[in-house]
Symmetry: C2
Subunit: 190 residues, 2 copies
């Protein structure tokens, strides 16, 4: 089963993935971009090379997603796979960049060979909690893009899963870590 | 004006592009993949990194195409731009890999922001001439993929321009260099 964890920085998804690792022995934990040799290079390229075209950037993320699917998701489909980010944040960021939702969905279905995640754990955080959680150094980085921008991405992600009719659980990130962990376990087992 | 030169290895398109450089002072000569800083890195990635997914490879070529359009084609649209390879060979190779033609066209239109080349110079070469022209060392490289494969790509390219109804000139690569050069000049000027 392929489960996608999505949420903006500071929402606590990495903590929850770490807790899941202790719970499930056979779990495959992965992430986008960067879960394959190609992904590592693509990530470097995205960080260090001048890319003018937002279409080029989008297509590079999709290339990484296709390789990640083929190398990590497909071969482990009999196991519990948890991915830290994936197509959903990809679509949300691309929507904010002005691309068409239906075309974005088509592109992502192509990259994933129609195999969308069976379940999605989507974290939701409010502005105040987000500000409190993000340390001052991190905050500088985020402030450049703006908290409002991140919250828009968060909103977009929920809009997209609703639009696509995907199975997802919304997590209130202000709840205690243990409570969230229990909810996730229940969601996975049902 | 954006002119695309397409043809398999050994067809003589590089020679003809060199001759055009002498003819037109303001010409912008470029190539795919590799005509931008991103393209150089993408090319390295394609050559030296393990890529399992043919979709990932296709999307990476498309990312390069999008960046090439945005960095080289769009800013020079008032000049004569000649590109050594482009979307057409991209589509032909992807067709051989089993992808759907209409979807490939849609993807390429997206990468090129709907700005397809205004003219296409398409070289055609027969099996015997191809074998004669390609040196023995090169021949080893080509033999691995097979001459038949290259000739299939050549056929596909013509099928695609016909299907898309694009303006193109077919060049018989066995004609003398000067004759071909004259034909190309005429095609460009008309």
């Amino acid at each position: 089963m392929y489960i996608l964890f999505e949420g903006i920085d500071g929402c606590g998804k990495t903590t929850q993935i770490e807790l899941l690792k202790e719970q499930f022995k056979d779990i495959v934990v992965t992430k986008e971009p960067g879960g394959t040799p190609f992904g590592v290079k693509a990530r470097e390229l995205l960080l260090h090379t001048k890319i003018t075209s937002s279409r080029a950037e989008l297509l590079l993320f999709l290339a990484d997603r296709a390789e990640h699917y083929s190398e990590v998701i497909a071969p482990n489909s009999d196991k519990l796979i948890v991915s830290d980010r994936g197509f959903l944040s990809g679509v949300a960021y691309a929507l904010e960049a002005g691309f068409d939702l239906d075309f974005l969905i088509e592109l992502n279905r192509f990259a994933l060979m129609e195999c969308l995640p069976q379940k999605i754990v989507l974290f939701s955080i409010d502005r105040e909690t987000l500000k409190q959680r993000v340390g001052s150094r991190e905050q500088d980085k985020i402030e450049q893009r703006g908290f409002e921008y991140l919250l828009k991405i968060q909103e977009s992600m929920q809009r997209v899963v609703e639009y696509m009719g995907l199975d997802y659980m919304l997590i209130d990130a202000t709840e205690p870590i243990d409570t969230i962990h229990t909810k996730i376990i229940e969601y996975i087992n049902n």
